[in-house]
């Protein structure tokens, strides 16, 4: 029995598992880290997840701007990953389905081929891109749905390094229609780091902690001017203010949100009547002040408008000084580069995937931004994947378990005979 290893090699996380399974068996960060400047030992991928103290971990990643730039590092990470993954067989008897970024550079393709066939010795290789796999997965989940009947969709993938809007037609990504926005989870984390360091505590070295802050506290605003007004208010009226406690290394080694109820208040902000902006009685006010005061003995910081201004950059990158259009316009341009006949179908089957779409209210905001840009007589329908980070892998798992998967692969013998460039022509991208 031969295995197909499905490897979604993202810039942020690697998702790996055996083809045919429902979920990947390994999800680890695609990086190595060193806990502190004093120790010489670099921890690889899954060792980082079990790290007790995440303060000032220096990180190095094999990916830069979404593309493989450090194959040595990648080899070390894969080495560890594959060893933990498939104990029953060795890689020489299994195939590999690898997810590569769109428009991968020829030199990166060559080094990946060398890694796969020469260093790891896989029997065969299939290279896929994420939009087509997401489409495949969504189409198979709802055989009666529009995505599978029209056989086309528009996949919006907001990942770690960048965001893509990619039309997919008949299971193939329409490569001339793909539009890229150079903003992803990594830039957002760094932006949050910059804001917090500039305004309260220096956290420039705390990538892991700020990742956690971003995931737990950031959300997408549905109405930025209104929310800025609310964030401007003092005391209890400010529904966005919340406190994050940094680890102190003694009583707690993980950072945490000080008060979850406080952090969740933004969710009913649309419902203006439910809260009264009137007076607070004295005791409450005192208690409120006590809670909101920054305790300098503990390492903590307050967040208010940063919580929604950070993800906001995906929708208005110009605010950051980038000369790029926001996500909604990205989608419109991607659709417009396809044949007019499929425009209505594409607008009606927008699929959101990638870790950065996990921000609360992301889909609603995207709809609000997109609706005015789309002709009136077209419907706009945005579907969120249920597990945006795993959607690509699941599509890969499906593809790997299909009967004619082996025939689509490039085998080791073919690679040795023809070399990398010839073999790559088989995958249409």
């Amino acid at each position: 029995m031969s295995y197909v290893v499905v490897l979604d090699n993202g810039g942020g996380y690697i998702k790996a598992g055996i083809g045919g399974d429902r979920d990947p068996s390994v999800v680890v960060p695609n990086c190595i880290g060193r806990p502190s400047a004093s120790s010489k030992k670099w921890l690889i991928a899954d060792q980082l997840q079990s790290l007790e103290d995440p303060t000032s971990v220096a990180l190095r990643r094999p990916f830069d701007r979404g593309y493989l730039t450090n194959p040595d590092l990648q080899k070390d990470i894969w080495d560890r990953l594959l060893r933990s993954l498939h104990s029953p067989t060795s890689s020489s008897s299994s195939s590999l389905l690898l997810v590569e970024p769109l428009f991968n550079l020829p030199s990166a393709q060559r080094t990946v081929d060398e890694l796969v066939f020469e260093d790891f010795g896989f029997r065969s290789l299939f290279v896929a891109d994420s939009p087509s796999l997401v489409h495949l997965y969504e189409a198979s989940r709802r055989p009666e749905g529009l995505v599978s009947r029209a056989r086309c969709s528009l996949v919006v993938d907001c990942g770690f390094s960048f965001s893509h809007a990619a039309p997919v037609l008949q299971n193939f990504t329409v490569n001339y229609g793909v539009k890229r926005l150079d903003l992803g989870g990594k830039a957002l984390t760094n932006y949050l780091k910059e804001l917090v360091s500039y305004r309260s505590v220096n956290v420039m070295d705390e990538t892991l902690i700020m990742d956690d802050v971003k995931e737990k506290l950031c959300f997408v605003s549905l109405d930025v001017p209104r929310d800025l007004q609310i964030a401007w208010k003092q005391g209890k009226n400010n529904k966005f203010k919340c406190t994050y406690v940094l680890p102190d290394g003694v009583t707690h080694t993980k950072g945490f949100v000080k008060d979850w109820d406080e952090a969740k208040r933004y969710l009913n902000s649309a419902d203006q009547r439910s809260y009264e902006s009137g007076h607070l009685d004295a005791a409450e006010q005192l208690e409120d002040r006590k809670r909101n005061r920054i305790d300098l003995t503990k390492n903590e910081f307050n967040l208010s408008n940063e919580r929604f201004l950070v993800p906001e950059m995906l929708f208005r990158p110009a605010d950051l000084g980038m000369n790029q259009a926001g996500l909604a316009e990205c989608i419109v341009r991607a659709v417009n580069s396809c044949h007019p006949n499929i425009h209505p179908v594409l607008y009606e089957s927008i699929i959101l995937t990638g870790g950065s779409t996990l921000f609360p209210q992301f889909a609603e905001r995207l709809y609000n931004d997109l609706r005015p840009l789309v002709p009136d007589h077209y419907q706009v329908k945005i579907t969120k994947q249920e597990d945006p980070t795993l959607g690509v892998w699941r599509g890969g798992s499906l593809l790997a378990s299909s009967p004619d998967f082996e025939s689509m692969c490039v085998t080791k013998a073919e690679y040795e005979e023809f070399g990398s460039a010839r073999c790559r022509r088989r995958f249409f991208h």
């Binding site: 730039t69 259009a325 341009r333």
Partner: protein, 199 residues
């Protein structure tokens, strides 16, 4: 933000033109501001491990290579002495392995092949790879990394947020061009943060 300081320092113009000193500063500053802006965007894609880290990893790689080589030796030893007395083999094998390991740790010897491999796989920045790929040379109908980038926004203009508190900023610092929203924030800005991004 400290690492972007040298980049923007380099750009001070060396022209000699008869202008008032303040005027000259203002002329140079717009360029500096642009540079600082770009450097800041660049910094958003950075990891926090510096250059010194690369060295450490080189060591790691070397040791990994050695281990690979060691495994190779072990296998050959196995093959050569197959069929002899088992206990003796195990002992002999161990001693050879230890010996080889020690030798390698001492000399840090690298084969020619290993060196070639290293040169091939040396980590490079994405920009270098992009330049090497020479995507501009492709005919205009071929989709590529460069052409997939979404262009400038068509309808929306830039909004400015106060760098001190994050609210809508209506004022610009005359010295460094950073935005702030009120007198209060201006005071904070002037005291601690002015010229932080530019100088």
């Amino acid at each position: 933000m400290d690492e972007e300081a040298p980049g923007s320092m380099r750009r001070t113009s060396s022209r000699t033109r008869k202008v008032a000193s303040k005027m000259a500063a203002a002329l140079a500053s717009s360029d500096n501001r642009m540079q600082a802006e770009l450097a800041r965007l660049e910094a958003l894609e950075n990891d926090n491990a510096g250059i010194e880290a690369v060295e450490v990893n080189d060591d790691d790689d070397a040791s990994l290579d050695d281990e690979d080589e060691l495994a190779f030796y072990e296998i050959t030893v196995d093959v050569v002495i197959k069929g002899d007395n088992c206990v003796a083999i195990a002992d002999f094998h161990n001693s050879i392995a230890v010996h080889l390991k020690r030798q390698m740790k001492n000399s840090k010897r690298k084969t020619r092949q290993a060196k070639a491999l290293e040169a091939r796989k040396a980590p490079r920045t994405f920009m270098e790879l992009l330049q090497e790929a020479n995507l501009e040379a492709l005919p205009p109908h071929v989709p590529s990394y460069l052409r997939a980038a979404v262009g400038p926004p068509s309808s929306t203009s830039r909004r400015y947020f106060c760098t001190v508190c994050g609210f809508t900023a209506n004022y610009t610092c005359v010295r460094c061009g950073v935005r702030f929203c009120s007198i209060h924030c201006q005071v904070v800005h002037n005291d601690t943060r002015c010229l932080k991004f530019v100088a």
